[in-house]
Amino acid sequence: MPIFDFLRAESNRHTASSAGQVVPDSARCVQCGICTYNCPIGIDVRRYAWAGEAVVNSRCLTCGECIARCPRGVLRFEQTDLFVETAR
C-alpha cells in the first residue's frame, strides 16, 4: 500500500462521525468551489472532490451544508466501512 493511502486510512479511523462522511463523486464536479465557500468552518471540500476522497477532517460537523449547496449533486453522506471498524 502506498504510504499516502496508509496515512489516509489511519486518519479515517478516528474521524468518521456517527452521521458518516461526506463523499464526492468526482466525475460530476466542476470545481466551482460553492461547497468550500459555504462550509461554516472553512473546510476546503472542493479539494476532496478533486481528489475523489471522502472529507476526512475531524472538525467536520456533518452539517450537510456543502451537500445541500453543491449545484451538481457531487456530494453525499456515506456510512463508511472504516467507521464500522472503529465501532467494533
Binding site: 466525475a27 460530476r28 466542476v30 470545481q31 466551482c32 460553492i34 465557500y37 449545484p71 449533486g73
Partner: protein
C-alpha cells in the same frame, strides 16, 4: 530529463501536469495566455449571479502549483515547429519540447452581424469576459441575449440577478430544441417568464446600432427594432485549431486523436475541448465541451506522454446543470438534429446527446419535477431529469453500465405506473447485484 510542454492552463492542462508529475524528475512547462490562469469555467455562471466571488473560483493556489513543480510561462503560443520540436511563444521566444500537449480549449463563436464590435456586446468564455459583463451590467438597463444552450441561460440569469431587464431572442419556436423535448423547453421558458424575462421566438438579429460606441437598439429581420443598451450572446463554440492547422496536424472539427490521445505526430497529444475523440457509442469522432471529460482526457494524455499506455474510453456523457433555476441532469442520448440557436456545439454540451437512434421514449411529470427516458431494446440510452434529483445518480450508473432493463421495459413504456417509481424499485434491486452500482 524529459521536457513536457503543455499548451493551455485549463482543466485538461492541469490534469495532465498532475499525471506527468508522478515522475519526479520530469520538467513540466505550462504555457497559457489567460491572465487568470486556471479557474472553474463552469463556475463563472455563479460569479455572474453573485453566488460566488471571483477569488473563490480558483481551485489551485500558488502552493499547489509549486508542489506540482510546473514552470509557468505566460504567453500565447503562436506556432508549433514540428521538425525542431519547438513552440513559438509570443513575447517569449522559442521553447523546446520533447512531448507536447495541446489543451487550448474552445472559444465562443463570434457574432457576425453589423454592430457586433460595439462596446456593450459581450460573450462568456473567460474570467475577463465575466468581469466585463458585470461591469457593463452596472450601467445597463435593458439587455438582449442571443443564442442557445446552457451558456445563453447563464447570461440571462446573471443579468436578471443584477436587475437588468432581459429580452431573450430565439431563432426557432422553442429553447434548446435538439437536446430537450418540447415539454422540457416549455418548462424552462415558463420559468424564465416568471423571472420577468421576455422571450421572442422566430427572432433573427440583423443589426446592432449605436452612437459613440454605445448600443442603442437591435433590429430584427422582421423589421422590429428593440431598444437596448447591452447585448450578450452564446451562439456556439469552436475548438481553437490555429496551432494544429499551421503545424499540419490531422484535424476535422477538432484535433483528431487516437485512443491514447495522440495526434498523427507521435510526440504531440491533444486533450479537452480542442480534441475530437472517437466515440464507441455512435461510432463517430465527436466533440464534447464538458469539464469532467476534459479532466480525464488531460490525465490520460499526461500518463501516456510520460510513458504509459492507457486508452481513453469515451464515457456516456452527462451534465448536471441549472436551467432557469431548475437543476437538470442530461445523460446519454436524448435528442436529435440541429439547434437553430447554436452553431456547432455549445458549452456543457456533447454531440452524443443528439445522436438519437431508433428508440422509444417515456415521460412523467409532476409539478416541476420531470423525467424523460430514452429506452432502447434492452437498456436505457439516455435521460433528462429536471427538478428533484434523487434519480440522478441511479440513472447515471444504470446508463453507463448499460444495465439490462428488459424486465421493466414493458412497464416503462406502458406508462400506467409512474416511471420514477418503477425505476427506483428496479435500481434498489439492481444495485444489490451489480458491482457497478
Amino acid at each position: 530529463m524529459t521536457r513536457y510542454v503543455i499548451l493551455g492552463t485549463g482543466v485538461a492542462g492541469v490534469a495532465a501536469a498532475e499525471a506527468i508529475r508522478v515522475d519526479a524528475s520530469a520538467e513540466i512547462i505550462m504555457v497559457g495566455d489567460d491572465p487568470h490562469g486556471y479557474y472553474s469555467r463552469p463556475g463563472l455562471a455563479y460569479y455572474l449571479t453573485g453566488e460566488m466571488l471571483e477569488k473563490h473560483l480558483f481551485p489551485f493556489n500558488t502552493k499547489d502549483f509549486a508542489q506540482l513543480k510546473v514552470r509557468y510561462v505566460r504567453g500565447h503560443a503562436k506556432q508549433i515547429l514540428r521538425e525542431t520540436h519547438q513552440v513559438e511563444i509570443e513575447g517569449a521566444g522559442l521553447l523546446h519540447y520533447d512531448k507536447l500537449l495541446i489543451a487550448v480549449g474552445a472559444q465562443a463563436l463570434r457574432l457576425s452581424i453589423p454592430g457586433a464590435e460595439l462596446e456593450g456586446v459581450a460573450k462568456l468564455d473567460s474570467m475577463e469576459d465575466a468581469r466585463r459583463i458585470l461591469q457593463l451590467a452596472k450601467k445597463a438597463r435593458r439587455a438582449i441575449v442571443i443564442g442557445g444552450g446552457i451558456t445563453a441561460l447563464e447570461l440571462v440569469e446573471g443579468l436578471v440577478s443584477r436587475n437588468v431587464k432581459v429580452t431573450y431572442l430565439l431563432r426557432g419556436d422553442r429553447y434548446w430544441n435538439n437536446v430537450l423535448d418540447e415539454h422540457e423547453s416549455r418548462i424552462i421558458e415558463g420559468r424564465l417568464k416568471e423571472e420577468g424575462v421576455e422571450l421572442i421566438f422566430h427572432a433573427e438579429a440583423l443589426e446592432i446600432s449605436g452612437r459613440k460606441g454605445h448600443i442603442e437598439a437591435l433590429r430584427l429581420l422582421d423589421g422590429r427594432t428593440l431598444k437596448c443598451d447591452f447585448v450578450a450572446y452564446a451562439i456556439g463554440i469552436q475548438p481553437r485549431l490555429e496551432l494544429a492547422q499551421n503545424a499540419a496536424l490531422a484535424m476535422d472539427r477538432g484535433i483528431l486523436v487516437n485512443e491514447f490521445l495522440q495526434t498523427n505526430d507521435a510526440d504531440i497529444y491533444a486533450a479537452g475541448d480542442v480534441a475530437q475523440i472517437y466515440d464507441p457509442l455512435s461510432g463517430r469522432s465527436v466533440l464534447d465541451s464538458l469539464w469532467g471529460p476534459a479532466r480525464l482526457q488531460g490525465f490520460v494524455a499526461g500518463k501516456n506522454m510520460s510513458g504509459g499506455r492507457h486508452a481513453y474510453i469515451k464515457a456516456v456523457p452527462f451534465n448536471v446543470t441549472r436551467l432557469a433555476g431548475l437543476t437538470t441532469t442530461i445523460i446519454g442520448t436524448v435528442g436529435r438534429g440541429r439547434d437553430e440557436d447554436i452553431v456547432g456545439i455549445a458549452r456543457g454540451d456533447s454531440e452524443t446527446f443528439r445522436a438519437l437512434p431508433e428508440a422509444l421514449e417515456t415521460e412523467s411529470n409532476f409539478d416541476v419535477n420531470h423525467l424523460r427516458l430514452v429506452v432502447g431494446q434492452k437498456t436505457l440510452l439516455g435521460a433528462v431529469l429536471m427538478g428533484d434529483q434523487s434519480l440522478s445518480v441511479p440513472l447515471q450508473k444504470m446508463i453507463i453500465a448499460s444495465a439490462d432493463i428488459s424486465s421493466i421495459r414493458p412497464t416503462l413504456l406502458e406508462g400506467k405506473q409512474p416511471i420514477a417509481d418503477v425505476l427506483i424499485r428496479f435500481w434498489q434491486e439492481w444495485r444489490q447485484h451489480d458491482s457497478r452500482a
